[in-house]
Every structure is written in C-alpha cells, then in structure tokens.
Symmetry: C2
Subunit: 153 residues, 2 copies
C-alpha cells in the first residue's frame, strides 16, 4: 500500500464521520486499481450472527467512494465525490470480518474518468465493490454510480 | 400507532443489533400499511454536514424489513426476514433528522404475501422505502426484494 501521494489520508477522513467511526473500519489496501476497507464483525453483527446489511452496504459504498477520491487525488485533483445510485445484491451471509474491495466497473477506464475531471471539473464513474468471506464465497456486491465535482471555491 | 398484536416489539429487536444501535433509530409509526423509522442527524452525519449514505440505506432497509416482519406477525406468523437485493437512489442531501417510510412496492398485495407464507412457509415481497426532508423533497429511495422464511424448528 502506498498512499504517499494523497494530500489528506483517507482513513482519518472516513473515521471523522460519526456513523463510519461506528463501523470501526480501516484502510486495508490501495494499489491504485483497487481499494480495500476492513471492519470487524463484532460492531457490525446482526441478530442472526452474520454481518449486518447496512454495514455491508456502507463499507462497499465507502470503498468505492474512497477509491475514486484517491485516484483523483493521485492525479492532483481535489474533488467532492458523491454517490448517485447503487444496486446491492446480498448473496450469502458473512460470519467473518468484513473486507470490501472496490474497483472500477465494467467498461470504465481511469484515463477517461480522470481526463473528464481535468477538462470539465466533473466526472462520472461506475464503480463495483464486493465482499467475500475468507473461503472466497461472494457474500455481497455493489454497483454504484458516482460523480466527482471540483470543490466550490 | 398500534403494535399490540406484535409478540416481540420491533424496536428493541432492532436496537439489539450493534450497528443499528449506533444509528439511534426509533419506531415512529406503524399503521399496518406503512412503517416509519426515525433517527437523529447527529450520529448519522457525513463530512458534508448531511445525512450519511450508509445510514440512509440502513434506515430504509430496516424500515422495509420491519414492515414485512410486523405484517407477518400481525397475521400470526413468526418469520425470519432477509433482504435479497436493493436499488437505492440518492436524490438530494438531507440536512435534517432521518425519517424513513416503508410500504409495499408497486404491484404487490399484502393478501398474496401473507397467503403465500401461510401456505408454503415462504414468501417474497418487493418493498419500497423513502426518506424526504421536512419540506417534502425526496432525498432517497430504496426498492428491495425481501424473502420471509418460517423459522427453522
């Protein structure tokens, strides 16, 4: 993991958000193509002993949000990143810690996303995040459309 | 609001889930056709001063989950209710407390849902939840498919 190009470390930014703090997440990895967030099961467990759906969605959404934010920062652009919509599939219960991995969605290119932002101060991107258990069973997936806007001056 | 037919009050059941407790939600209303959950903004605020997306999704999902659970309980059926998938649209930022209202989705009938469960111990339902601000501006919507299963004995 190398976050040295990021002007503001992403993990403290996330943890400053009260409901994110409750998730007890931390940044697990960022390799410029994917970003992973991890959170322990205990504060995110539901009444069935598995991971709470709201925590799964939050972690996947935040991983995608953080990936787009960091890619733009790596390219020298500060941006406000918003999620516009998302589709979530709950495939299997998760009885372990939550590890969400976000990547760019199908048919998307980072060069185009960053180029659009550089030209117009605005870019849209489809991102995909997923959470699998330690055996590799896919537990949930998220596809979300995000928009990045240049900060208002 | 009348929850007297419910064998297990829904609010304590929800609050027993650690990440739900963090939302500080409470049951605002249940009139047998809709169910409303409310949560204060402070523990659910994001870095932009508006409601955090993960809290919005959680509250909408829980309202729909609670509505289906309570409708089945009102009909005398204990059930395990699971969300299978959901689509969320984020339409406008919310700078107020969160009030999520859940109803049965378009084309759905409670009689059919409850009848299917009574016959087969299993039912599927499409539910819709939304959060508007006090002025009535719709801030986000969720459509989710849920399944209710008879508890394993």
């Amino acid at each position: 993991m190398d976050t040295s190009l990021s002007p503001l470390p992403i993990e403290p930014r996330l943890l400053a958000i009260p409901p994110v703090h409750a998730l007890q997440l931390r940044l697990a990895d960022y390799d410029r193509n994917s970003l992973s967030l991890v959170a322990p099961l205990a504060p995110n467990v539901n009444d069935k002993g598995s991971a709470f759906g709201g925590s799964l969605v939050s972690l996947m959404t935040l991983a995608a949000w953080a990936l787009l934010s960091m890619k733009l920062e790596d390219a020298g652009h500060g941006a406000e990143v918003y999620v516009q919509d998302s589709s979530v599939r709950y495939l299997a219960p998760l009885y372990h810690d939550l590890l969400a991995v976000a990547r760019l969605g199908p048919g998307q290119e980072w060069g185009q996303v960053i180029g659009a932002f550089a030209q117009r101060g605005k870019a849209r991107a489809l991102l995909r995040a997923e959470i699998a258990d330690p055996a590799g069973t896919l537990c949930c997936t998220l596809e979300g459309r995000f928009v990045a806007l240049a900060p208002k001056t």
